[in-house]
């Protein structure tokens, strides 16, 4: 039996734990001021942690340097790079689950930098408007903020903004049926931040070229559409999910400690 089976199982467990952990704020005594390593709505009545991007927007709106939030996000990034997207983020998990509905998907590689544009535009918009503009459209906020809000507070009538949230969520849901992890690939600003550190983080991935048969099974298995073996672990798209490790017949890809 190959070890990759256990890797998948482990990842599913950490994804489930991430889902549970972030929602422990249903007990209000557990609502902390800690920034979590996932795009997650802190306005949710259940949330236990703060959304990194919501927090960054807020401090951008205040024109204040976010030492605690930035330091926490940086610390997460320096340790694991973008591994949180593959192993922890509930919105990534939801995309994985919804994506299971369709087997065959497209694998476009255009505009991989678009998430950096989202990151920049959203922060500038927050600074200029002094509001967390991105949050009004964030599909993760739709799922983990607007939906619980409607269920728990039963507003009448349901505000227009909630419908806008529902629309963005449905768009992403439709998107993952066509392109795997479409939000993470193209639009997630938190993934853009974490991905920037993929080349610098303590956790890295090593491809042993002496063992690689160039079969590209690893690339075919990649949910983020990475298109070259050299990009595994270092691309800003790599979520270190380990599906390439599982796919490799020759154990040529491994997690490692140190610079990629």
């Amino acid at each position: 039996m190959r070890p990759s089976v256990k890797l998948s199982d482990t990842r599913r467990v950490t994804q489930a734990l991430g889902f549970v952990l972030l929602n422990l704020g249903i007990n209000t005594a557990l609502k902390t001021g800690i920034v979590c390593p996932a795009l997650y709505c802190y306005a949710c009545p259940l949330s236990m942690f703060a959304c990194p991007f919501g927090t960054l927007q807020h401090f951008a709106a205040l024109a204040t340097v976010p030492l605690l939030a930035g330091g926490t996000i940086g610390l997460f990034s320096a340790l694991l790079g973008r591994a949180y997207c593959g192993w922890f983020c509930p919105f990534g998990t939801i995309q994985d689950v919804v994506g299971m509905i369709t087997k065959r998907k497209l694998n476009p590689r255009a505009f991989p930098w678009s998430k950096f544009v989202v990151l920049l535009v959203a922060l500038v918009a927050a600074y200029v408007t002094t509001e967390t503009v991105f949050c009004r459209y964030c599909p993760s906020g739709s799922l983990f903020g607007a939906l619980p809000y409607v269920i728990m507070y039963n507003p009448d009538p349901i505000p227009l903004g909630v419908w806008i949230h529902a629309g963005t969520l449905l768009l992403v849901a439709a998107g993952v049926l066509v392109v795997e992890r479409v939000w993470c690939r193209y639009l997630c600003p938190v993934g853009a931040i974490f991905g920037t550190f993929n080349r610098l983080s303590a956790l890295s991935m090593k491809v042993d070229t002496t063992l690689c048969a160039n079969c590209k099974l690893c690339l075919k298995s990649c949910p983020m559409g990475i298109d070259s073996v050299e990009s595994i672990g270092v691309s800003t798209d790599c979520t270190r999910c380990g599906k390439c490790i599982e796919a490799c017949n020759r154990d040529a890809i491994k997690y490692a400690l140190g610079l990629s």
């Binding site: 030492l67 610390l75 997460f76 949230h165 002496t210």
Partner: protein, 324 residues
Amino acid sequence: MLLDFFATTCGPCTACIPAFKELLSEFSDDLVIVSISVWPSDTLEMLKEFRTDEGVTWRILRDTTGAAASLYGVGPIPHLFIVSRTGVLSFSRLGYSENIKTILRNAILPLVQQSVGTSTQLTLALSVSTVDVGTVVGVSGSLTPAAAGVGILIRVTKPDGSTTTLTTSTSAGGTYSTTHTPDGEGIWRYKAVFAGDALHMPSESAEATLTAKAPFPWVLAGGAALVVVLIAGGTWLLISRRAEAGVEGPPPPPPPPPDASDSLAVPPAGPPPPRRLTSAVLRNPVPLALSGVFLLAVALGFESEYGIIQAFVRFLCLSCVGIG
């Protein structure tokens, strides 16, 4: 009294203000409005700007510790309460509505119609909002319409929940002032009470809070740091158990060993993993140095930002979920 729990960044809260103004105009003698910002990042300067921009004429308070919000069970904002002259909480409303004025008017009108005698308004202000323990604090305010020699009770709620009272009386202009020295760390709450007389209705001031400075919360900081380390470090360790230990070690002999390591818990052959993990980290100082820099930023920003970020999690701002 209309209590308005709000934040300057909350669109629906701001949308309520025109209705407040109209109500204040209609019930000028019978209505006191107090807006309480529950958003820790609403600074005094921001509130002053907000007052100017929105034309607010009533008192705006800051709930810097969340104590008032907790007392009233405030979660999402805006959250509005109406308290009668006799101190009865008679109405509660969550969120903005286009007919908010009518809703509030319908709640206020029955209370006003119960009034007898001249209604009074009492204010209370503290000379500072944050002090060190043992510092003398000025407590002052005024009674409207002005009445000289009227007894004013100031109810002081200590951080432990027990209460004490101060007594003073009004001057000819209806103003009063006294002092108090908080002798313990925590939140002190002050409220002035006029019991009323034959000609005047009783009234209470809005509650003002004072933070007697507590030492830096090292235990809380440690706990938060521990959670961060557990999330990041735990996931790191979990994944790194599969890691290739010696980064610069010799290449593995081909062909790859079949079924050699079936479990995450089985380390590859070689020196003990702990030693090699340490070695690998030390040979790659960049992540280590980055982590150090970011840890420093966390340490520097913790005291000033933790409460602000916690407020994001505690208070569901309805504008963020699409109202407003």
